[in-house]
Symmetry: C2
Subunit: 224 residues, 2 copies
Amino acid sequence: MPTELPAGADPRDIPDATVSRLPEYLHALHTLAETGIATVSSEGLAVAAGVNSAKLRKDLSHLGSYGIRGVGYDIAVLTTQISDVLGLRQHRAVALVGVGHLGQALAGYGGFANRGFGIAALFDIAEDRVGTVLNGLPVRHLDELAEVVSAEGISIAVITTPPLAAQRVADSLVRAGVTSILNFAPCVLDVPGNVDVRKVDLAVELQILSFHEHRKSRNGKVAT
Amino acid sequence: MPTELPAGADPRDIPDATVSRLPEYLHALHTLAETGIATVSSEGLAVAAGVNSAKLRKDLSHLGSYGIRGVGYDIAVLTTQISDVLGLRQHRAVALVGVGHLGQALAGYGGFANRGFGIAALFDIAEDRVGTVLNGLPVRHLDELAEVVSAEGISIAVITTPPLAAQRVADSLVRAGVTSILNFAPCVLDVPGNVDVRKVDLAVELQILSFHEHRKSRNGKVAT
């Protein structure tokens, strides 16, 4: 049976926290490869990815990748291993729904294409947006969703609509066959169990920083 | 010694994973409060926040908040407790650097103000942006950063510049006294230990979804 995966690495056994760091390692590896070097120590890779090296070694051991003492990791091999595990060797077509400022920012974001993704279709319902062209892609009406998702083989969608529209959009996406959703609308989506949702709530990120600010100011004032 | 915190809750003892969920609980509480109800069960709050109820109860126990059997949590009390822990009862002024599409999306994002944050200042270096007005705020030149950060009492900044400019902007922010940074540029920032950085990398979120897509398609094909 052909397999793309390194021996011993079953993606179902990789902890979610490790999965969430693999893209960072991959990004660091790409950056290192551009400098022309062929191997990197776990310490070097850890610094480039912004994690500690013990955590990095543990994470990569889940992929069956251990490096060589005194040499480190082969950058090309490790890049292929991580790309395999993340399923990035197959280019993935992404639909984006909601072409406001944020949607336009994402549609124009250059970092997707060289990381395995392409925004393949844009959708909105506003009359003044449908029919316009953004970065070479037409903005289509949401009514065309099912047809386009099927024709383009889209399985991942990004929701950048206002929160009140997000659930209805998610329902349409699920009906059209999308099984992974990246949700920027500040609301919880109700989807079937086979659909993965990741939520990016920009105010939440600020609130977490607020906690750290608050803790710093308390530490400055409160005797411990 | 006056304290805003519920008895028994020291913010230094709250796990990071719990902190990262508190904003979700707070958002769910706000939504529930708008419906006019006064109390909520842990199950009800868990559903509204999109987590499981055992995890929610554990998280809230770190705040010294346990609810009442058969009644649940008092929404107003719990809202105040979480806001206290997150330091949100003090409105925080935020600077945003880099007024491209993403910066404009964030500057126009209505969800910040009612969640304890205000974008207080916008910065860029592009001649065609500096001097323009966005949502009532002038776009200032980055050279004015130190002066404005000090005058407005800004401690949190958002970086929405291209990656090559981000480290230089971060250095300027740190010099100006900013101690928390939300970084949207796809790069690792090198900052002093007293500065908290949270990174939002949009391609990383897509790559994590790609992993789940990949796993789903493997599960469909590979006998287990």
